[in-house]
Subunit: 331 residues, 2 copies
């Protein structure tokens, strides 16, 4: 594999920084790294393999000689600049929601539908973070039993919103400890010592956009146009790593033994399921880890062929940067 | 109504203190208040209507002349001492799990099955806090559409565990802000900036005892022996007030209009459902409030006759002290 010129659009954001770390950690064959961000970040320098790399402005002409462009600068920036990257000959891996539902753009979790990458016309989309983490556990169970629908509730960390939200939680907590008043800026309500059932914008049907992603993106990733997912997405005062409680209904009879076997065999997934010793997935344990964790696996008491389980994963890694770099590796 | 001699067993606990406040707030006709707790609390004094009342040791002979005994001292204490209170002629309202599944003991949420109180033989049980909060919203929908089963995930505050857990969260957060290391005591894992999918003890079937309460207690309270509830109970770093995400399947076709009408007419429940203005129930808003709140009501996209919704309530009040005092009022 020849060394590649990689560009990161949105390099200074929470995911962008993890993309740099992930390229390093996985020893991705980089001949040159171009860091791009909005004009506000010009002048910043970020470390890559010990080298200080200056951040440049993301522009239409930023992609000359770029082989792979990793985008994580929001859907607006992706829609505007990704076509220029493709035109310049780069392959774009886009972490935003801009192209996820575009039939021409493969939406890929390498462990699940890596083959879909072949159909790309210059852009491959990275799924929503909560969806990616949930599907890491749901897919092996789907292969074993055939999933029909899921009911899920999420516990989403503030880093999913970005660096400002991390700072908002930190400030609000410090203000609470010091008994100082504060007013929320990033979120519409306090996030310290609270939970907010509002992630992304509300749709006509009463769900948020985030909540419908598990069904919409799940159908594409699992190749299952009838898949149904009713989700409630909730922001919780956790810095890093999302968790999801899932009830899943399958076509065929399930057993705990077969379920655990399928989950244990799945790449990128670790089974942590020892309730007697208080071992189950938690944000504090998966933060900073590549693998997602699944546990609390039990026969669902309200479904005929059903399983209830609990998944946690670092949404900046498997939910974003890691998955993007894994896609780039397949390319 | 004549004035009554009221005893509170477990008066110094998080719920006990709220019981005193609730008796005051609702102007319960108290002629005398006896505060009982374990021997460790003897000598403490608690305020009731401006009067300092000394805490006495909870003993078998504590209930002479007591008309109503409110118990919130754990299931062990209830099993041991409630029979003596009954023998002394008191009616016991028990907040523990000791008698909830006892067919001879009515399990009551006054707004739902207040009439069941009549069948009591000296003891009335108060339901689990998460169950009580969930049923406050589920019952009106059940009356309208006939509930069959629910899938639920909880976001439970530390005060549900008690005063030590409140202190544990406070300490861990302060230690985190000051960058001091800490080791968990009350919970098996850190609760600050984490979520723990482990409330109460684990059962053979992989659910926790807490998780099965919604089905077991729900069947008794709703008079619905076939009711099914698959729940994941999760502790979150919130001081006060539980939240629950619910997907509910009904026998009859549902509509949002009828659902909101039923919820708005329900006593003890407030509909807060204005997503366009970021209004929905949250712990910060229901903490310290008697009413539970319901919102995020939407047609469930994965159920035929289904609704998804979100409930929040102060588990020390509706989930415990308030419900107990309401039962005492009916008695």
């Amino acid at each position: 594999m020849k060394n590649l010129h990689v560009a990161i659009a949105g390099a200074t954001g929470a995911v962008g920084v993890e993309m740099i770390r992930t390229l390093e950690k996985r020893r991705f064959p980089v001949s040159r790294l171009t860091l791009l961000a909005s004009s506000r970040s010009i002048g910043k320098r970020l470390l890559f393999h010990g080298e200080q790399i200056p951040v440049q402005e993301l522009r239409e002409d930023s992609f000359q000689d770029v082989d792979v462009a990793l985008f994580s600068a929001g859907a607006g920036a992706s829609k505007k600049f990704a076509p220029f990257a493709v035109q310049a000959g780069a392959v774009v891996v886009d972490n935003s929601s801009a192209f996820r539902m575009d039939g021409e753009v493969p939406l890929v979790i390498p462990e699940i539908n890596g083959n879909d990458i072949r159909k790309n016309r210059g852009i491959v989309a990275n799924p929503n973070c909560t969806t990616a983490i949930a599907l890491m556990a749901l897919h092996p169970l789907h292969k074993a039993f055939g999933v029909r629908r899921v009911f899920a509730a999420s516990y989403q960390a503030v880093s999913g919103t970005g660096a400002q939200a991390i700072e908002e939680l930190r400030t609000q907590v410090a203000d609470t400890v010091a008994e100082r008043p504060f007013s929320p800026k990033v979120y519409p309500h306090p996030i310290a010592f609270n939970v907010i059932p509002h992630v992304d914008v509300f749709l006509e049907n009463g769900y948020t956009k985030e909540e419908m992603k598990m069904q919409n993106e799940g159908r594409r990733i699992l190749h299952l146009p009838e898949f149904k997912a009713s989700v409630t997405c909730v922001r919780v005062p956790v810095y890093r790593a999302h968790s999801v409680a899932i009830n899943a209904e399958f076509e065929r009879p399930v057993s705990i033994e077969e379920a655990l076997e399928a989950l244990r065999a799945a790449p990128g997934l670790k089974v942590v399921d020892d309730p007697a010793n208080a071992q189950y997935p938690m944000p504090v344990n998966v933060a900073g880890r590549d693998d997602c964790e699944v546990g609390r696996v039990r026969l669902d008491c309200a479904l005929e062929n059903g399983l209830a389980f609990w998944v946690a994963g670092d949404q900046l890694l498997k939910g974003a940067a890691l998955n993007a770099v894994q896609i780039a590796e397949l390319l």
